[in-house]
């Protein structure tokens, strides 16, 4: 027991939660100074995104007992970020978000170390993500969530009886906001539904039919999309439209105004033009603060066990009064991403080239341009060119040989697939079993292809 005469400590408030036994806590909770020091020393948290949620998350985590943080974001700071991304100032416009955010938090919270990564999430080796105890997502795109989810679920290993292996679980906490609304969720791969199990929660974005834009425009948005999607290409053959070029935006706006006048349609403004073309989602500081705080709190609870955790999806709506709701979604046991993996049976004579072709035709996968990895070793990489060249000679070899003649094992493939008519990059875990090799004749087929 610490007595009241101990020297003043920064963790005065947090200590109450971490050092004292509790009644409504997680099953693994072991209160004490050791727990507090372990959080500082050994727990590494990755924050994905350094925007509205990311800035808040870094601050919240740095003040929740974590010392080792990393943040990844490919964006640069813009003026329109400043109404909520509180770590950035006007002078920072144009700089990398991840770098400025990391620096600012380290300046204010002594002892915290934040490593910034100014790049795309796909640019990192898969193993980069395995280095973290937990991954916290502050993103605004479905594709990016889907990618990180697949990476984290890819680390999950199953026992022979199809139960997830404790040490391979990479928990995630995901937040998202739009205006006064938001969500926070906890994903424990193998136990709670992963992003892909509940992908239906994110309906595809509705697009205007081209014939409406071309023939029967009715709203200001129709006129804007006509100028943006049809007229631009007609006039500027070959030149790609750049939404960040103010001259381009101005051109689209002026064309939209002309079209609106022609049809007697009111309401085209420059601000609406930007909103429609860039698909701007309204964003305010307060909702980001609420959602990030919920995510940071769950992160602390998952890692330390100091309280029960959210099970497993929180929705928040502040438009009319205040509504929060917790929903316990269930796992899709056949999920391609967090399940035990798609089972693929192969003859030992199948070459890597043939295998890659097979993935493209596989009805569940439809994965084109696949890169293949086995136990951290690149068997074939489509890019970058230097890796492609290094691994090219493998494609005529048999997969069986390349996998060191094991009768069965997990391999990871990345490539592109189509979702809602849009190409997206994806990562899949496959359970490859070689036919006729000793020891696999009575292989459990549950959950297989």
């Amino acid at each position: 027991m610490v007595d009241t005469a101990t020297p003043p400590s920064r963790s005065r408030d947090l200590d109450k939660l971490l050092l004292r036994p509790g009644n409504l806590v997680g099953p693994t909770f072991e209160p004490g100074t050791e727990l507090r020091e372990d959080l500082k020393e050994y727990v590494k948290v990755l924050v994905v995104g350094a925007g509205g949620l990311g800035c808040e998350l870094l601050k919240d985590l740095a003040l929740s007992g974590f010392r080792n943080l990393e943040v990844i974001d490919m964006d640069r700071i813009e003026v329109s970020n400043l109404n909520r991304q509180f770590l950035f100032r006007l002078d920072d416009v144009g700089k990398a978000k991840a770098e400025v955010a990391a620096k600012r938090v380290m300046e204010r919270v002594s002892g915290v170390n934040i490593v910034p990564h100014f790049c795309r999430i796909e640019d990192k080796e898969i193993n980069f993500y395995n280095d973290f105890s937990i991954i916290v997502l502050g993103l605004d795109s479905i594709e990016a969530r889907s990618y990180i989810n697949a990476v984290a679920c890819g680390f999950l290993e199953y026992d022979s009886d199809d139960s997830p292996r404790e040490e391979s679980i990479k928990p995630m906490v995901d937040g998202g906001t739009e205006g006064f609304k938001g969500h926070a969720r906890v994903i424990v791969p193998g136990f709670t539904p992963c992003f892909e199990c509940t992908i239906w929660l994110f309906p595809p974005q509705v697009k205007f039919p081209l014939c409406t834009l071309a023939e029967t425009p009715r709203t200001a948005a129709h006129c804007i999309e006509y100028a943006h999607l049809i007229k631009w290409d007609e006039v500027h053959s070959g030149k790609t439209f750049d939404p960040d070029d103010p001259e381009h935006m101005k051109w689209v706006y002026e064309e939209a105004v002309k079209r609106a006048e022609l049809f007697g349609i009111p309401g085209v403004t420059y601000s609406l033009t930007q909103g429609v073309v860039k698909n701007i989602i309204p964003a305010i500081a307060s909702t980001n603060a609420v959602i990030s705080a919920a995510c940071a709190l769950e992160t602390l609870k998952i890692v330390s066990g100091c309280s029960k955790t959210l099970s497993n999806y929180l929705t928040y709506n502040g438009v009319e009064g205040l509504h929060t709701k917790v929903t316990e979604f269930v796992k899709d046991k056949d999920c391609l991403v967090c399940g035990p993996g798609v089972l693929i049976e192969l003859d030992i004579s199948v070459t890597l080239r043939k295998f890659i072709d097979l993935l493209e035709e596989h009805p569940k996968l439809l994965l084109s341009k696949a890169s293949v990895r086995h136990r951290g070793k690149n068997l074939y990489m489509q890019a970058p060119p230097v890796l492609e060249e290094m691994t090219r000679s493998n494609i005529s070899l048999t997969l069986y040989e390349l996998m060191d003649k094991v009768p069965k094992d997990i391999i990871h493939v990345t490539g592109s697939t189509r979702r809602d008519d849009k190409k997206t990059s994806c990562l899949r875990k496959l359970r490859v079993v070689f036919k006729g090799v000793e020891g696999v004749t009575d292989m459990d087929m549950a959950g297989g292809a």
């Binding site: 004292r20 029967t216 007697g264 601000s271 309204p282 305010i284 709190l297």
Partner: protein, 523 residues
């Protein structure tokens, strides 16, 4: 200067220039700038609130560095209000920021008049006694008040003011005002001018569903004694009729008509919520009535006379499959009717203002127009005095919460948040605030909570041992993540109150950081 517009772009898309102007004119005061207060004001300063005054009498201790981002090593020993204010100013130089190094309790006790200069006061981490006193002061001075408190894994947010009337409530989902089963003459005439049986497929598939439904509803009513489909069978039959009108499979306009047919089935006239507002005694206006109630009185007259039971028309229509020409014509028909209704209401407003002895032009056309457009969505929020709630909580609600599993933790925290203040008044510290003698603290808190329950008239009700233990474990800790959550909500409510847009929360919000089953309690 284009920069502020760009800076605020993402929020202007939510509350518009008008909301932003209201924010920029507001003067808000913060009592206590621990993490809960600091985080609340961070969000307000980022949004561009006009001016802030930070009030806190304490000096920064090392322990404050662990939960407050606005403080750093160099702050230790200095005025907390000064340090927090300096950081807040750094976030947005358009905001006028000042601080006063003084304990809020002292101001409440000795300088009640001080608070009347503000648009709104955010009071954080106050105990019961100070809350009650401040509430009386702000109510008297007509200053809006928001309480926020973080305590371990729980906390609360509570708005207190006499009345908050909202014109632009901007609900997420609201039935369009199309009058499909009650068309006015021009809409009826327009619908009659269109032949649904035109064999030209291009014309047929570009007839907007408004026209289809107005005509079909009228036809139905003719053959059903003036009634519209009301039973499940009738509704199904009506949709079947619509489906049979298709001459090609891909007619989106008929698909839309079937999907929108519920708009025909909706009852005519005004909602019970609006009925309640026009029946409110405040709608009997005099020279002291607010502009809002003068307009409600005008609305009441309109509904009873020219409106024939309906509000003024909103005047906008949703996008729907249509030729451009028909759509634009329809839009103009709706707009014209809305404009005509507005002129009638404006006349009522002038008459009423004259009658109560005010300048008949004292309410601007823009305001009346906005009022007409939002007439179906008006909201009036009223809040009990904190003292009334504390002494006389709504007992039936309380009993309901205490026995409802979904509410049990939240109401438990509500009771315990009050019990810890009684505890602190008796023992000069919060339960578990210092280490040692935890068992004794737990039993004392339990006794206090049971006493409180019995004072409230909930004899026999108990709280779980688990929750009481947890409350002692919390020991009045202000955890950063909890403070950021509570501060986020408090700032959101402040913005709703100042912009007079959206609907502020009612009752007391109790945060449950254990499993996030937080609740609003109306007591």
């Amino acid at each position: 200067m284009a920069e502020p517009k760009t800076k605020y772009d993402r929020q202007l898309r939510i509350w518009g220039e008008q909301g932003q102007t209201a924010l920029e004119r507001a003067s808000v005061c913060l009592l206590n700038c621990g993490p809960t207060g600091s985080e609340t004001f961070k969000n307000l300063v980022l949004g561009g609130v006009g001016s802030i005054t930070v009030i806190d009498g304490s000096k920064v201790e090392v322990g404050d560095l662990g939960n407050n981002f606005m403080l750093d090593e160099s702050s230790v020993g200095h005025s907390k209000a000064k340090c927090v204010c300096a950081f807040l100013q750094e976030l947005n130089d358009a905001v006028k920021a000042k601080f006063i190094e003084e304990y809020p309790e002292a101001l409440i006790e000795t300088k009640a008049s001080f608070f009347s200069q503000f648009t709104l006061v955010v009071a954080t981490q106050l105990v019961e006694d100070a809350m009650i006193k401040l509430d009386r002061i702000c109510r008297e001075a007509n200053v809006m008040l928001v309480f926020a408190r973080s305590y371990g894994l729980t906390g609360l947010v509570r708005i207190s003011l006499k009345e908050h009337a909202v014109i632009e409530s901007k609900p997420d989902h609201f039935l369009d005002d199309l009058r499909l089963n009650n068309p006015w003459a021009e809409l009826k005439r327009f619908a009659e001018s269109i032949d649904l049986n035109n064999p030209d497929l291009v014309v047929h598939k570009h007839t907007p569903y408004i026209v289809i439904l107005v005509k079909m509803a009228e036809e139905w009513a003719k053959s059903h004694g003036g009634n519209f489909p009301s039973t499940r069978e009738e509704k199904k039959e009506f949709k079947g009729l619509l489906n049979a009108m298709k001459i090609a499979l891909d007619e989106d306009n008929y698909k839309e008509a079937i999907e929108a047919s519920f708009k025909v089935f909706a009852p005519r006239g005004i909602s019970s919520d609006l009925q309640q507002i026009i029946n409110d005694s405040c709608a009997e206006v005099d020279s002291n009535s607010s502009d809002f109630w003068v307009m409600v009185a005008a609305l009441k007259e309109f509904i009873a006379t020219e409106g024939c039971g309906e509000t003024p028309l909103e005047g906008s229509i949703p996008d729907m499959t249509s030729s451009t020409e028909l759509y634009v014509t329809l839009q103009k028909i709706y707009q014209a009717k809305a404009e005509a209704d507005f002129l009638v209401i404006a006349q009522h407003v002038r008459n009423i203002l004259k009658k109560v002895g005010r300048d008949p032009e004292s309410i601007s056309k823009t305001t009346i127009k906005s009022f007409c457009k939002n007439a179906r969505k008006l909201r009036v929020c009223r809040y009990r005095l904190i003292e009334d709630e504390f002494c006389n909580p709504a007992l039936t609600e309380m009993q309901k919460y205490l026995t409802d599993e979904d509410y049990s933790i939240a109401v438990g925290f509500y009771i315990l948040l009050r019990a810890v203040d009684r505890f602190a008044a008796n023992y000069n510290s919060f339960p578990g605030q210092f280490d040692g003698a935890m068992d004794e603290e737990i039993s004392r808190l339990k006794t206090t909570a049971v006493g409180l329950l019995s004072d409230l008239g909930c004899n026999g009700s108990t709280l779980t041992e688990d929750l009481i233990n947890e409350m002692c474990r919390f020991g009045a800790a202000e955890l950063h993540a909890v403070a950021a959550f509570i501060g986020g909500i408090a700032s959101q409510e402040v913005i709703k109150l100042i912009t007079k847009q959206f609907v502020p929360m009612s009752g007391t919000y109790i945060f449950n950081g254990i499993d996030h089953k937080s609740q609003l309690l109306t007591l």
